[in-house]
Symmetry: C4
Subunit: 224 residues, 4 copies
């Protein structure tokens, strides 16, 4: 998932800001719940939403910039209290360049039950390439959240966390944003289907066909 | 469903652009899922959304224009990967002038179960004139999607595709847009009713009465 | 429900226009479904949405003005095909000054099942003073819709129509708009409650207490 | 919950106005349902929404200012008919500086059934520190509503009221707004989870861990 072009820190800051604004505008977060971050691995810096600030008032300069141990190096505001989870995941998953944490309603309704979301839909195959797994409940001490997420993280760029919420990943903050939005979208459709009847998961070989097409022929080679 | 006035290519481009923007604003598509196209049969050209581009940034000039074999003749962006399905349907259904593909949540919740939407409501009779059928699951190889849709397409200007999403049709992109929006609207009401109890389909002769009135006395003769 | 001040025809036109725009912005109508009207009983005129026109493009001057037999006296556009139902109701219910017809999703999910909405909530008691009844299914011939609605119309300023939609009423178009919006709001809450358990209707004497307070002490005497 | 800085009356007026506008924009109220208030305990004044006025037209100067017995001391409009409930609660709970009353759909669906919302989610532990209780049904006579709310009010800054709606509290109107928004958000997720299966409440010691972290390390010390 690693992106080939290395953006400048200011480009990354802008992308992290857009991802934070994006999850708010897409209705994935409420008040101050949730956060988006991005990592600049060359410089050893992480950019993340500050704690408890209104999304719609957030400016790029308000974002917190920390080193990989979480020490603030830029910005006047304290970083999100979830920063340790982001750092833990970045350290163990070098292909990840952006992380988003939300309590979006439909995804979290599966998490409330400790349920994963099977690949009921071609959209899940396209975007996630597998079911979206749910990590067991953990408390907020130390690295418990980060450990639970990393242990559970497989093919799909998203993990549910029981009784808690969702994490979404990408090679960039923008890609993580897309995963977070698509997670809530497919969670909603799957929820609606489960209320009407018993959907069946696509078999693994069908999932691979959709994922393969989506990740080879889709999109633009030159940047739109 | 064929429209009488033949619009210029630029009028068609604008209408296809409005339909793509419209499905985004109406909440029928998420991120880049879904696409709208239109055909100019006299010139042998199809206009369709480019692959993987943000709806809200799309300008009319960004749309891809192809011939009936899918060769790009205008536009700098690759057309939607769903273009072959659109072309297959246009070829077999000469009355169709606009096609929209979405994974809109309520319609797709029926599709997830392979269920058609019976004519439970006068709004379904008005707009669709019949139940909205669901084609069986097919993979994305060759013309499988196009074949499944065409085989299933009857009176109603919409078809669900199992575990996948929805296609909506019209004599123009604008008419297809209306069918796509109304499909999601009636799917939502039917879903809500099915959670509360057992709705009954209107008998065929009642469906005909509503459809007949709607398609003879409704709307304005001169263009508003 | 009769209002004391008689507005000018232009004031009524503006209010009917606001009600049509309002039901669109409140999400009660989709594409062209639904319509709002108002009556000027002194002049013997009814103002109503034209048939099949986009709500967001509608200007006050586009509204159709008819006499009480439905003959157009102003406006270049054909009135809504539902005009006969509005006229039928205005004729039989002299206290009604505004009528709104929608297929709003939650209200219509009850109508799909032919179910009334009992006074489960104090908000229903406040606004409707009774359960919201559901008239049996009728076809669209002659005055069938108008007859079914009038026969069913009691204390509550709203009636559901089986497998069809909802009608809301008021002494003015603005009051009818409020009833239409509140109908969908309470229908949604009642629907959600019915999915979780078995709500109980408030007893009639409790309903009367809420209705009484709301209709004596609520609001401003001078016009805000 | 008492705030340390005492704002001027004009600052409080602005905050009450923002809370009223906020509950409307967040979709927690419909038409004129619901209201937000704030108290200036030093001056012995309460500021509250006027009765029956459109939220989107409300200006700060339109708010009603009353003394602690509910006598209007500023403003040309009558205060909300729910003012006595606000005054009753302010008198018995000196730590409360802002109160919000809504009939928000998901919270009220629990209230319709007289059901509390257990701490199914870490977000409930974070924000409410306990389950959100539901007071039994009371009519609107005298102080019945205020009494029922105060008797039920525990750790969580929100109370449901059976067959009626919700009250949310904070040390300031802004804090009460956050509680009202988060209440509807967690009510929605819990509702969705209850439709899919049987969520389990977090044990009290787990609730305390989340609440403790959220109320010690979260947010900014200096005002953003």
């Amino acid at each position: 998932m690693e992106s080939l072009q290395v953006p400048s820190l200011e480009q990354l800051r802008r992308e992290v800001w857009e991802a934070n604004l994006g999850i708010f505008r897409a209705g994935l977060v409420t008040m101050h719940s949730g956060n988006a971050s991005g990592i600049d691995r060359r410089r050893g810096l992480v950019i993340i939403k500050p704690s408890g600030m209104d999304y719609e008032k957030l400016r790029p300069a308000d974002l917190a910039v920390t080193d990989l141990e979480g020490r603030r190096v830029q910005g006047r505001w304290k970083p999100s209290v979830d920063l340790p989870h982001h750092l833990y995941i970045y350290e163990r998953r070098p292909a990840i360049g952006g992380i988003i944490h939300t309590h979006s309603n439909y995804a979290t309704s599966f998490a409330a039950l400790g349920r994963s979301i099977p690949a009921y839909l071609t959209a899940i195959a396209d975007e996630f390439g597998d079911e979206i797994p749910c990590a067991p409940y953990v408390d907020n001490a130390g690295d418990h959240v980060g450990e639970a997420v990393v242990k559970c993280l497989g093919q799909a760029p998203a993990v549910l966390l029981a009784q808690h919420g969702a994490f979404a990943f990408g090679s960039t903050p923008r890609a993580a944003f897309k995963a977070a939005v698509m997670l809530e979208d497919v969670a909603k459709t799957c929820h609606l289907a489960l209320l009407l009847g018993k959907p069946r998961a696509l078999p693994p070989n069908e999932v691979r066909k959709w994922y393969g097409r989506y990740h080879t022929t889709y999109g633009q080679r030159k940047k739109p």
